[in-house]
Amino acid sequence: MKPSNGSQIHPNRAEFLAGALNELPLLLGVFPFGMIYGVLAMQALMPAAAAQGMSAIVFAGSSQFISAQLLAQGAPSLVLIGTVFIVNLRHALYSASLLPYTRHLPMKWKALLAYFLTDEAYVVAIAHYDNETPVERKHWYFLGAGITLWAGWQLSTAAGIFLGAQVPASWSLDFALALTFIALVVPAMKDRPAVAAAIIAGLIALAAHALPYKLWLIAAAIGGILAGLACEELCRRSG
């Protein structure tokens, strides 16, 4: 490697900045999302510090929305933890898809990058990993994207918490949660198995809604996943 001269930016830093820059457009969508989370957490009577703390500790939008709702309905801790775990299971898929690109890194880098492995950082990082250029510095790009997203999420949460105390219940802002999930689920309806998973899960949720401790959510999730697998199996046999 050539020694870097003073006028030139270090290649690691250049990667980091490129990642940060390419994450910025996604913040447009993330910022309102984080604010709505903050508002909802306040309406669920979460302490402000816990609402902000969740954005830093769990750092996963959809699961935080659901947690705020479950807390408002008085669900027990174990159900909340189990629900967060199931909702965030998809991150294991991201982790598996990054394995070939991060294999060469020392463990402390992997441990650091894992913390930033969210939907929005993954989307940006994997696009960069998938292009044909050498992989050796791309973890800096991932880190730049991840930190940018992290900062946007913390700031938007704080803004939402600040606003949350001032939003009256008659604005039906809790409905924004259902709408956000509709916005996330519609693009996932790519094929018949995915539609089957969604419909069966929804029907189980309706039918099992009286189950104690919000267990219907976990029952519906498992039922929907099995329905998706079964439908995929049927399609494969008939096709």
Partner: protein, 108 residues
């Protein structure tokens, strides 16, 4: 007060370990094909399990009618989401529909 922090810590740790899983902890474990295929269905199943009761239940009873404004607003939002693939437009159209219906029902 303390319970909520313990809950957050446990939820955060599990989420973190999920993210680290294949990258750091299970590098040599071959994920069973079945599990890999199942993971794809987690988002649609979980999300619609939350959406359905939100739109269709009122005080725990099925409300499948035209005066269920949340249901109507949700359908509008789903159509907008399907056409635009944009989270903000989806939320905005759903909230606007809900407000419009509520306003109309007060006026008329």
């Amino acid at each position: 007060m303390q319970t909520i922090w313990l809950t957050l810590a446990a939820a955060g740790l599990l989420t973190y370990l999920t993210r680290l899983s294949f990258m750091g902890l299970l590098q040599h474990w071959q994920m069973p094909d079945m599990l890999r295929r199942a993971l794809r269905f987690v988002p649609p199943a979980v999300l619609s399990a939350i959406i359905f009761p939100d739109l269709l239940l009122r005080d725990g009873v099925l409300a499948f009618s035209l005066d269920n404004y949340r249901l109507l607003a949700g359908v509008v939002a789903a159509l907008v989401g399907w056409r635009t693939r944009n989270i903000l437009w989806t939320i905005a159209s759903g909230m606007a529909t809900l407000y419009l219906l509520q306003w109309l029902s007060i006026r008329f």
